[in-house]
């Protein structure tokens, strides 16, 4: 468009009509220009607003993406547990061990979706939640930086981890169906209700659990996830009993050699990778804390591997050092889980060093008590869970404690309370659960299946005493 300048209009001497036309054109040009400028200014302001909203969405989107990826990393730990366990189990039990890991994830997914999540994070009181069953009416948008479904997926991966810990202790002699039932009840009740007491406010600030109200802190689940799994396993192995031939009648321990330690190391590395998501995702935001948390997580695992290895080399048979060291490293990862958001890297190393030694000592204690924790879940997740939970109070920097408004001793008392409550709750319920299963459908596979391997889809061969050999009178006489 050609714009006529005022000078051209004023300088025009070609008739009044043309002058009028030029004036109208001039005015029109000014009006159009004013409208364009006004529109431009409005558009710029509006665009800025959109940009701000877009930035906020982008930030929230990145948080959501990170937590979803972290959930995937935690889910991958199921594969890590599977490889870890298959490598340590005897070869003829490998298929059943692998299948149990698949089944407990399925049980966790359904049970936690339908009921568990609601009890843990639904609206309710400080003891239990009672809405969001089957995620009904779960808000897509919540106060925190991640959406409701993303939060659920992340928490589901945690529930699956707690449940699969149990399988490692019970392998090679526990009935498949019995284990599946135990897994379902863990996902329905045992895990979510204790989780409510500690993490209830993670999803809804109004749903604070009673333990967190008392100051108990467990960042990513040394107690909530790992100890819950370990104490359930402890009850399970105590009731199911040791594998045949694991201990002599005089109490001599006869460890079964691992079938494939390379597979166990592979599983450990997957678990280690998953732990980065386990702890890093628990921030529920993708900020500078994530990499710092991954750093301290890594340091604790490596320190634990080191101390466990040195201790095992000095005190154990050479054939046991390899598998002991692997468990030691995992114990360090469990131990840092409760405090990864607050401790300094140097503290993480100290936590890991102690964790590695504790792992070895706990394993030795279980042997002396004739408890057959087949793949060492209790030293890793139980001892590591207790130590890690205490470490929150022992290693949290002073300014963090000030921020929490607690002295170190107060915090230690709160941590001890949480550990004890967890033990009592889990052991009590798990005992009732395992006993109920034992009395109704049985817990163990047949001795034959235990000795030659388990195919869960084959009929369990029974080599029962043949009562037809005896007349009733002779049988009664022998029994009297």
């Amino acid at each position: 468009m050609a714009i006529t300048t005022p000078r051209e209009v004023i300088g025009s001497h070609e008739g009044s009509d043309r002058a009028s036309a030029n004036r109208i054109l001039q005015l029109s040009t000014l009006v159009v220009t004013a409208i364009v400028v006004a529109l431009s200014m409005w558009t710029t302001r509006s665009g800025g607003s959109e940009l701000l909203t877009s930035d906020a969405n982008s930030i929230r989107g990145i948080d959501d993406l990170w937590v979803t990826v972290a959930a995937g990393m935690v889910f991958l730990m199921q594969a890590g547990f599977m490889a870890f366990e298959v490598g340590l189990a005897r070869p003829h039990h490998a298929p059943a061990v692998a299948l149990k890991n698949l089944v407990d994830w399925t049980a966790a997914s359904l049970a936690f979706f339908v009921v568990g999540f609601a009890l843990m994070f639904g609206g309710g009181n400080s003891i239990i939640g009672w809405d969001l069953f089957a995620l009904q009416d779960i808000p897509i948008s919540i106060d925190s930086s991640v959406s409701g479904p993303t939060f659920f997926i992340f928490q589901l991966a945690f529930a699956g981890t707690a449940i699969t810990i149990v399988s490692g202790s019970l392998v090679e002699r526990t009935s498949f169906l019995s284990y599946a039932i135990v897994s379902v009840f863990m996902g329905l009740i045992i895990y979510p209700i204790f989780g409510r007491w500690v993490w209830g406010s993670l999803f809804d600030a109004d749903s604070q659990g009673w333990l967190e109200a008392l100051g108990f802190r467990d960042f990513a689940g040394s107690t909530v996830v790992h100890s819950v799994g370990a104490w359930t396993a402890l009850v399970g192995v105590s009731i199911v009993g040791p594998r045949l031939g694991r201990f002599d009648l005089d109490g001599t321990s006869r460890p079964f050699p691992p079938s494939n330690l390379a597979m166990t190391v592979f599983g450990t590395l997957i678990l280690w990778f998953g732990w980065w998501g386990f702890n890093g995702g628990s921030v529920f935001a993708f900020d500078g804390n994530v990499s710092r948390i991954i750093l301290v997580t890594n340091l604790s695992g490596t320190a634990a591997l080191l101390s466990s290895g040195v201790h095992a080399y000095a005190t154990k048979r050479s054939s046991q050092v390899f598998s002991t060291v692997i468990g030691g490293a995992l114990t360090g990862l469990v131990a840092i889980t409760a405090s990864a958001d607050v401790v300094e890297p140097i503290s993480a190393i100290a936590i890991g060093l102690v964790a590695g030694i504790l792992h070895n000592l706990t394993g030795d204690l279980l042997e002396k008590l004739l408890i057959d924790d087949a793949l060492g879940a209790i030293p890793v997740h139980g001892a590591g869970g207790i130590w890690g939970t205490l470490a929150v109070a022992l290693f949290a920097p002073s300014d963090i404690l000030e921020l929490w408004g607690r002295s170190r001793l107060d915090q230690l008392a709160a941590q001890v309370l949480g550990i004890l409550v967890c033990f009592v709750w889990v052991v009590g319920l798990a005992y009732l659960l395992f006993k109920a299963v034992e009395r109704t459908i049985g817990l163990r596979v047949s001795p034959t299946r235990e000795l030659v391997g388990m195919d869960v889809f084959e009929e369990d061969p029974i080599h029962a005493a043949d009562a037809d050999e005896l007349a009733d009178d002779e049988l009664r006489e022998l029994l009297s």
């Binding site: 019995s178 009648l249 009395r439 163990r444 047949s446 029994l479």
Partner: protein, 81 residues
């Protein structure tokens, strides 16, 4: 055949019975000999008649007659049976 006449009808148990396995719908329940002997006689009778019991020595099944004799000789019980 003469040698067979000197063979016992049931072999004696050389190793002790360490576990009694009771068949359940989805697996087994294991118990030590003392716990088995403490069960009521009628309960033990019915379990054996139902072919739900395996007497084990280091994981090996022992036939019913020598197993019951060994248990009567070696394992404790209670006064109620």
């Amino acid at each position: 055949m003469a040698a067979a006449e000197f063979e016992p009808a049931q072999p004696e148990i050389s190793a002790p019975i360490d576990t009694i396995a009771i068949k359940m719908p989805a697996g087994y329940n294991m118990m030590p000999p003392d716990e088995w002997q403490a069960l009521h006689e009628e309960q033990r009778f019915n379990l054996i008649k139902a072919k739900r019991v395996a007497f084990l020595s280091a994981g090996v099944s022992i036939p019913v007659r020598p197993a019951l004799r060994w248990l009567a000789d070696h394992a404790g019980g209670n006064d109620e049976k």
